[in-house]
Symmetry: none
Subunit: 244 residues, 2 copies
Amino acid sequence: MSYKQTIGMRNLKSRKLYMQVYDEIRDYILQQRLSPGDKLPTEIEMCATLGVSRNVLREAIKALEIAGIVSSKPGVGIVIQEFNPDFLFQTLFYNLTSDSESFLEQTLAVRRILELGFLRESFDSLKEANIDQLESQVNIMDKICREKLGSANEFTFGPDFYQADACFHNILYQNTNNTVLCSIINAIWYCDRSHKKAIRSKYMESTVNKHRRIVSALKMHDFDAFSIAMHHHFNVEYKSESPE
Amino acid sequence: MSYKQTIGMRNLKSRKLYMQVYDEIRDYILQQRLSPGDKLPTEIEMCATLGVSRNVLREAIKALEIAGIVSSKPGVGIVIQEFNPDFLFQTLFYNLTSDSESFLEQTLAVRRILELGFLRESFDSLKEANIDQLESQVNIMDKICREKLGSANEFTFGPDFYQADACFHNILYQNTNNTVLCSIINAIWYCDRSHKKAIRSKYMESTVNKHRRIVSALKMHDFDAFSIAMHHHFNVEYKSESPE
DNA sequence: AAATATTTGTCCGTATGTATC
DNA sequence: TGATACATACGGACAAATATT
């Protein structure tokens, strides 16, 4: 059968080829009852069985990979992944994102309730190694802060600073074994990132102090101090002009 | 610069090229404030600006397309789509078919913290009309419950019942003007619903009572009673065997 | 420890279907 | 009708990462 003819046949079906392939592979995973860790056939094999080119197959595979359903590595193959709600919430929030001020307030309010609501779970799950990781993130923030203060600009851009901040809160909750919670918190960080590109350096300094206080409380294994430090962190961030 | 060198440079970043492109295009849509109907540059143009091959770009575009963010047509171009959560829930269901109880527990824990955390905002934002709507949802639940009790089966299927339940909680928070909160709660409801297809009728009865108690508190404009009723709602739901 | 095989990652080129003017 | 612009699909080649012997 010639190239032209096969093209013609496929066009009878309205759904595009790579989408059909996407569906077929997903159904294949269900039918074969593949579990996380199991492998798909190689790209070449699937091309042969499905009768499509490698490019089309890869478009489908990459969509599956970005959706978090599979993961592909050179020399290994394509491996089924454990369910991870990251993609779900990231895409959900992506569609909610607006540039209004209120959106930032909304996300912050949700973050505040979630993080404060899971304080106990966080506290109980943290290990010494995690507390050290938290401290090193604070040190990173501190270093950036000092450098920027030296340059003496009122406004300063801090993607690195925010990354450390995000990492800090990520560590706080990663051991709670609630992937839904972690995904939501991460997704919020992700969509805030595009907005908060510039902050005043004086807020940076106060932010560092707030996080250092959290670490101190954790080092003492004092839940009440931890709770107070976390509330302080969020409440002051709320009313951004209130004095120390 | 040779092919080999560029490859080498790119490998310094761990994230794969097509994923970077996926991220960049998504960020581009946000940054340019593109709305549904607007068009992306052509594939060729984007390849040039991003400095990647057509295959890599297409893998990213196809992932965006399957995710429902864009739609591409020959002779036209790549068009931004209105948000349609179908794909998200489809992948969600796909994952839940095989997944365990733990995910359900996680979602419930998050819902509990969020709803209880925004109690005050809910209470303050509710109007008389909303309270009437809440009551009518409870009446729907009640009616379904009575019908099922008459048929005297221990197990009964209740998609309608759950829809009323979801609607109830939706109404509670819709006036808080926090779309992020509402979206999360709705998304989580979808997760729950796919699992809990069958419930025992005695739980249905107790669920109706819990919701009626919430409405009663709201009718009296008594925040403390509302708070107690809501806590009761979630706590009993937690330990599903505890007596009334 | 080193060579080899396997598999994915990336690039290029070409032909075809489709919508618009 | 024809021309143009665009996405769709195919094939081949080599690089890079991993596993295996």
